[in-house]
Amino acid sequence: MITGNFDYFAPSNVEEAIKLLNEYGDDCKIISGGHSLVPVLKLRLASPAVLIDIGRIKGLKGISFEGGTIVIGTNTTHAEIARSAELKKHCPLLVETAGQIGDQQVRNRGTIGGSLTHADPAADWPAAVLALDADIIVKGKGSVRTIKATDFFVDIMTSAVKSNEIVTEIRITKPAQPQAAAYLKVPQAASGFAVVGVAAQLTLKDGRCEKVAIGITGLGPKAYRASTSENALIGNTLDAATISAAAEKADTEAVDTMEDIHASGEFRRNLTRVYTKRAIMAAMSRA
């Protein structure tokens, strides 16, 4: 398990990183926690000539608050999010999702920005950022873009980030209190990756659903919002029948499904419906 040859840069600021990205073009790759990229390199699925380690760039790591907005630096690890007391209060969905990624070693190294950009169809973060309607901030040479979570995941292992851009932070509007949120997943036995994962964030008023967003990962080649289910919930009183009926539509948006030794496409669809129902019920029970 030996990677190909590469040159290694460790820039100290974002501008330098972008300069290197433009200089080496398609020959280079950013590396953050390395927990997706290093396996790819070791299996020689990719052999970039240059690695740009963004781990030493100050200001890309950490959790902060700007008024009603939560700002998470791209290099923030899953573990840092999982143990954040502030996030537990202001956005428990992030904490719950982070705690379910891989194992402790993976959480200690892997970063939210790396996971999102990698766009693994079985990754957990995509479901959560979709349910939170997050904005992903991306910098390029003299440009800053804001990509909505719903536009971010393009295809299997493909995000909207261009090869000469760098994700800097993830911005999320603080969800309304009391928080009605849950992330439930069926983990693969070995890696912990989601066979199916469902993130639900609801705003309830007098038992009625005022607002809801459901992010689903694992089922299709990219994570998606279960809009059909959401529409069946909004404005309605969430009794068991309504939730069940809405959850039955949770796989509507998925045209193609993943299929592997862990689960057939049909089974994944079934899991999606069942876990959507459970996620909504769990979210409500916490409000």
């Binding site: 398990m1 030996i2 190909g4 040859n5 299996l43 020689r44």
Partner: protein
């Protein structure tokens, strides 16, 4: 001999641990020799294919590359990977260390790239262009015996490697007399053994001395020495095999692999040390696999639960080639088909078949867990069929303690056992009656609570020599040094079992010396007398017995000298806690003083050979048959999860 159990049975700290947990022990990859070249092996990406051509030009001129070898280079120069197991009419395919014109499993070595470092070797591997012609692939052992299956070894015209029958008793009569016959199809899936430390080889040939040292992560350094010497055509005594720290084996390192001879041969060609360390990927594809049997088990029973006969018809997956013991593994299943029950007639019909997969071989229990599983499973099926409590069915068919030694219809003699006692203890600990009551209560509420019970017997301490191709004895040498320190050389090759500690405990108690004064040396064929190795639960049972016998010899010799020095006769002396006492004038002498006297040889009896060393080769009379019971209750969602007990006697 009497001794004080100061160490045996006591909690002592493992002496090997400090170096292991500090990371300062030496595994193969930690051994660095000057000028070492590194080998990367390019392996087949096809399960079955003809090799049309291999283009090595780019790889050969890649930076740092010293040599690239393929099947052509080793043909006729390196012997075939050996299979030591013998069965009547066994078809043994020729297993070259590098593929010759054809590959028959994914992971088969095709080319060896030698470079100044492993990175350059790995880069060059990407530059090798192999033109493969894929052939039909057979991976399912049951499909391999079908008439329309493609044939893996054309020279045999069939994928069947052997037929093997086992068992005694009038099986047809048993099935005729039966009130019922219960049958079940069972699969034992393939497993890939994953030791924490993968395999690895460092070979160093000295052309002047015409001697080679081979470090290998192995369980059997001596057997490897014999086999690799034969493969390379060098004298066995000119090959030194060293098993340094070995990070787990589980049977997967009870083998002689292509890489050991290949690395040795490359070192002879280049006259430099060469090293290869297996990657985790290679570990999965190119280290032996375990299990892979699919068979039908049938039990003939009386309505009262009396067992009459058992038939097992099985297809055993050999994989593409036969490694050291591949065909022997399912025969071990055959030996254990009686489980811990009285079954008067047993018959196994086994067909070993070739498939386009890595060879199977010994892995954790090696054929025996398969037997336990299928016997226990069919017992449960019988209980279900007869609507009998599975515990009662088992009890009914246990041989009673007074029936031991118990002869099975598979030809074994279980030396001793009390199966009823271990089961009774498990029932008591798990409160079996209560579990059953809870189960029926839960069932009324529409919930399922599972209760699993299993009673088993194992065959361990491999074994009498007759049962093993290269012998089943074990050796030990005990050398008491002039200063009284004790050096043990054991033929077993521990790789995590902790015999450096447990053997020092034995010496400590039997010689009455401090454990810290004992050094246990293993795994070096130039230091240690020939031995068999560590596998089949034999390390302590056979190797430890050899050690005890050698210690007896040492004490007997020491006694002779003690009697001479104390001017008394041997029979008046007792050896207690490291000291010979009982001389008429109340004088005594320690083993350390004896050791010194034996070496200075200034005051020894006329017929006394100086020194204080003894070697013993211990031949066990039988296997050992440890047994036990497991009982587990397990419900769904919050029921009494994992309630139960395991009782075993080792």
């Amino acid at each position: 001999m009497s001794f004080l159990a100061k160490y045996i049975g006591q909690k002592v700290r493992r002496t090997e641990d400090p170096r292991l947990i500090q990371g300062i022990g030496h595994y193969v990859d930690d051994i660095k020799l000057a000028d070492t070249l590194h080998v990367v092996i390019l392996r087949s990406t096809h399960a079955h294919a003809k090799i049309n051509s291999i283009d090595l030009e780019a790889a050969k001129s890649s930076p740092g590359v010293v040599a690239v070898y393929t099947g052509k280079d080793v043909e006729g120069r390196v012997g075939f990977v050996p299979c030591a197991a013998a069965l009547p009419d066994l078809k043994v395919p020729k297993y070259p260390v590098l593929a010759q014109g054809k590959v028959i499993f994914v992971g088969q070595p095709v080319a060896a790239i030698v470079a100044t470092d492993k990175y350059k070797a790995r880069d060059a591997a990407d530059l090798i262009d192999i033109d493969y012609d894929p052939l039909d692939v057979v991976t399912d052992p049951e499909a391999a015996v079908q008439a329309d299956s493609s044939v893996i070894h054309e020279e045999f015209g069939t994928n069947i490697a052997f037929h093997h029958s086992a068992g005694t008793g009038d099986i047809e009569a048993a099935f005729k007399q039966a009130d019922r016959i219960v049958s079940e199809k069972l699969y034992h899936q393939r497993l890939a053994p994953v030791a924490l430390e993968p395999r690895g080889v460092l070979a160093h040939y000295l052309p002047g001395e015409q001697q080679m040292t081979l470090w290998s992560s192995t369980q059997i350094p001596h057997l490897m020495r014999t086999q690799v010497a034969l493969m390379l055509g060098i004298n066995e005594n000119r090959l030194r095999v060293i098993a340094p720290e070995v990070g787990g084996g589980f049977g997967s390192k009870l083998n002689v692999y292509a890489e050991e001879a290949l690395l040795g041969w490359i070192s002879m060609q280049l006259k430099k040390p060469v090293k290869w360390i297996e990657s985790r990927r290679e570990n999965m594809t190119s280290t032996i696999h375990g299990r892979s049997q699919s068979g039908t088990v049938e039990m003939a029973v009386k309505n009262d639960g009396t067992l009459l006969g058992l038939k097992y018809q099985v297809i055993a997956d050999m994989g593409a080639y036969l490694q050291l013991l591949t065909p022997a593994i399912p025969t071990l299943t055959g030996l254990m088909l009686s489980g811990c029950y009285k079954i008067p007639a047993i018959s196994m019909q086994c067909t070993g078949v070739f498939t386009n997969r890595m060879s199977t071989d010994a892995y954790r229990g090696a054929g025996r867990p398969e037997a336990t599983y299928l016997v226990e499973r069919i017992m449960d099926c019988v209980a279900l069929e007869l609507k009998m409590d599975p515990v009662e069915l088992r009890r009914k068919n246990f041989p009673k303690p007074e029936e031991f030694p118990f002869a099975t219809a598979t030809g074994l003699f279980y030396d001793s056992g009390d199966y009823e006692k271990s089961l009774a203890r498990a029932l008591e600990m798990s409160d079996y009656q209560k579990l059953r009551a809870e189960q029926s209560e839960a069932r009324k509420q529409g919930r399922y609570l599972g209760i699993g019970v299993s009673t088993y017997v194992e065959i361990c301490a491999m074994g009498p020599s007759i049962a093993l191709p290269a012998g089943g004895w074990e050796s030990a040498t005990v050398r008491v040094e002039p200063t009284g320190k004790v050096t043990v050389m054991t033929g077993i090759s521990p790789h995590g079992q902790g015999e450096e500690t447990s053997f020092a405990q034995i010496v400590g108690d039997m010689l009455g010396v401090d454990m810290d004064d004992v050094l246990v040396i293993h795994g070096d064929t130039s230091i240690v007398q020939y031995g068999i190795g560590t596998f089949g639960s034999r390390g302590l049972a056979v190797g430890g017995a050899a050690l005890a016998c050698a210690l007896d010899k040492v004490v007997a010799k020491a006694r002779k000298l003690a009697a001479h020095i104390l001017q008394t006769d041997e029979s008046s002396l007792t050896f207690e806690n490291g000291r010979f006492v009982g001389a008429p004038n109340d004088s005594s002498i320690t083993i350390q003083e004896i050791a010194q006297a034996a070496h200075t040889a200034h005051n020894i009896p006329p017929d006394f050979e100086p020194g204080l060393v003894a070697t013993h080769f211990f031949e066990p009379k039988n296997f050992t048959f440890p047994f036990g019971s497991h009982l587990r209750g397990r419900g769904r969602q919050g029921d009494r999860r994992g309630q139960g007990a395991s009782i075993y006697r080792r």
